[in-house]
Point group: C2
Chain length 352, copies 2
């Protein structure tokens, strides 16, 4: 935990003030659990759905195609330049839903808290989640809190699951890339992963590296308005752009050719990668998307991305082809060609 | 972990055999993650929805009232008499959905694995989840795996979230208890919590105490057929029957009077509770429900519960009244009356 963080802004409501840190009882289902819900979770997330306080929450849902997704967040440190685990947990699942073209509507949240976590930190995390949910236009409708004994967790882990509705006519999926399609990227690569790594490694650059964590559902909506036939969307998180494109190439049975010089990377991120021997293509992003679109809609799609604040640096970075199915290659800056394969394991552990 | 457990029955499919334990790379989103999904998760859970392998899963859903729920499971030990964390994670969320009268349909699962967990244990847990899901008639449609470094987790934590449809006409909720209603309990109290505690404390009894973990959606369906006007359903997990009834009494603004001698408890559970100074009313259950029903449907409801294998020992244990709103009392075995209040904190940590 960085010492520069200041939690004094978060005023702990009574009666939680008696326990400045989370204790096992807060996960016990008794009075302490009820207090945590009443004084910490409900004030932040409160909405009619959550206020039902049943074993499950009852929602009225229109029928149709529903997107469902889940993700657990174990990022370390909990607070990093540009965000914290709370907004990451909201944006991450919102983005997974948006990548199927869905309009994200509802989230659930499960907290696994290590005994000893300062309540003020939990408060800031929860308020960040609430702000991120408001900003993405989703409601947190069900939650759960467990507390594990000291030394058997790591501050807090957060799981979110989400639900969204897919508008009629939208057909997006990892098997839909076709030869001739254009590969678009919505902005710079590697910001999130390198923001985390620069904190962990104590790296200092002229320009601070800041996580790109953001909800992409608004960007997707604008994109689909301009280019309704988008074939594939994916947010390159763990494993980076390399993993996303390899998965799509395998699922669609197509090859992909990238142009490395067209892929935007912040200079500070580039420097940090060089220092740590990392490749930006493999570094996680939390507010970027890759869109694979038919060539005839590529210009309109790119323009729509660039017109949105989260897509200003969008670029056309490559194309889909019939040759070498399952293989992703890139032309390097000096004109050679290399294979962008999938990393075996974990280049950067616990970045989300 | 008990030494008596035998994981040899679980044959680890290649190429996972090269890594007998989970390593950080299994959560990295690269090839190792893909192998875990392909060789361990998909064979167990495989269904057309999960096979989509997108960032989110697309389902066709009828419109109407949808129940949503989430729960994280951090039980220690992972394997206990009568079950393991995997089936608990499925049954727990199925039950939360069933308690709103919903027919559970879909689950998501998020795994937070500690580096070093034997893959054979993960395999057994995942197969138990799959079996529990089949038995409850639900599909696991989305999943996520994260790995945390050794010493920052505890074997595996599992979050499940679930989705169910509430049939028309069903109106069940914690605010619906009314004076005159009858309180029914579907079976013996305390089995799950004491099964866990007897393992942890090394207690031996003539009859082994076995967790009651079970999916209750079938029982609820039979109950609703016989007594369509059920007012409240709840499964008394963390905090036990005491917490459940206190929450309902507060939400509905009613009092409750129990008859302690009518509450079924297994003799071995009773002995274990006495030995450890615990009260069965506060001990967690994972396969029991409390139903609050209008008096005129109580007989039919009780008969329906008793006709189901999971409700054979169902009993009428008390009644709802207008007096003392928010208060739960019980007549004790020797004829006195005591208040059953909500526990402050955690009587039994990490039992689910």
């Amino acid at each position: 935990m960085s010492n520069e963080l200041n939690f004094e802004g978060w005023s702990c409501p009574l009666p939680l003030r008696d326990h400045p840190t989370v204790i096992l009882g807060h996960g016990g289902g008794g009075q302490l659990s009820a207090e945590l819900i009443k004084h910490l979770f409900l004030p932040a997330f409160g909405n009619p759905a959550l206020d039902q306080l049943g074993d499950s929450t009852v929602l009225q849902l229109a029928g149709g195609r529903v997107a469902v997704s889940t993700d657990s967040f174990v990022v370390r440190p909990l607070f990093f330049p540009g965000g914290n685990i709370g907004e990451l947990a909201v944006n991450g699942t919102v983005n997974d839903l948006a990548m199927s073209g869905a309009r994200p509507l509802y989230l659930t949240a499960g907290f696994i808290i290590e005994e000893g976590l300062p309540l003020a930190q939990l408060g800031v995390i929860v308020e960040s989640m609430a702000a991120a949910a408001r900003s993405a236009g989703v409601q947190l409708v069900a939650g759960d809190t467990k507390v594990v004994d000291r030394g058997h967790g790591d501050g807090v882990f957060i799981n979110t699951a989400g639900l969204g509705l897919i508008p009629a006519g939208v057909e997006i999926g990892p098997r839909r890339a076709r030869p001739g399609d254009v590969i678009l990227l919505s902005g710079t690569l590697g910001d999130h992963g390198m923001a985390i790594m620069s904190v962990r490694e104590g790296l200092q650059f002229e320009t601070a590296i800041v996580s790109d964590t953001a909800a992409l559902n608004g960007l997707v909506q604008d994109l689909l308005q301009a280019a309704p036939d988008v074939h594939v969307l994916r947010d390159p998180t763990r494993g980076g752009l390399a993993a996303s494109l390899n998965e799509i190439a395998a699922a669609s049975g197509v090859g992909m050719a990238l142009e490395e010089r067209l892929i935007p990377v912040e200079p500070a991120v580039q420097s940090a990668c060089e220092l740590l021997g990392l490749d930006p293509l493999y570094v996680a992003n939390e507010g970027k998307l890759v869109a694979i679109v038919p060539a005839e809609q590529a210009e309109a799609a790119l323009a729509a991305l660039r017109a949105h604040p989260l897509g200003r640096r969008a670029a056309r970075i490559g194309r889909v082809m019939a040759e070498h199915p399952g293989l992703v290659t890139t032309r390097t800056g000096i004109g050679g060609t290399r294979v962008v394969d999938m990393a075996i394991g974990e280049q950067l552990p616990r970045i989300c």
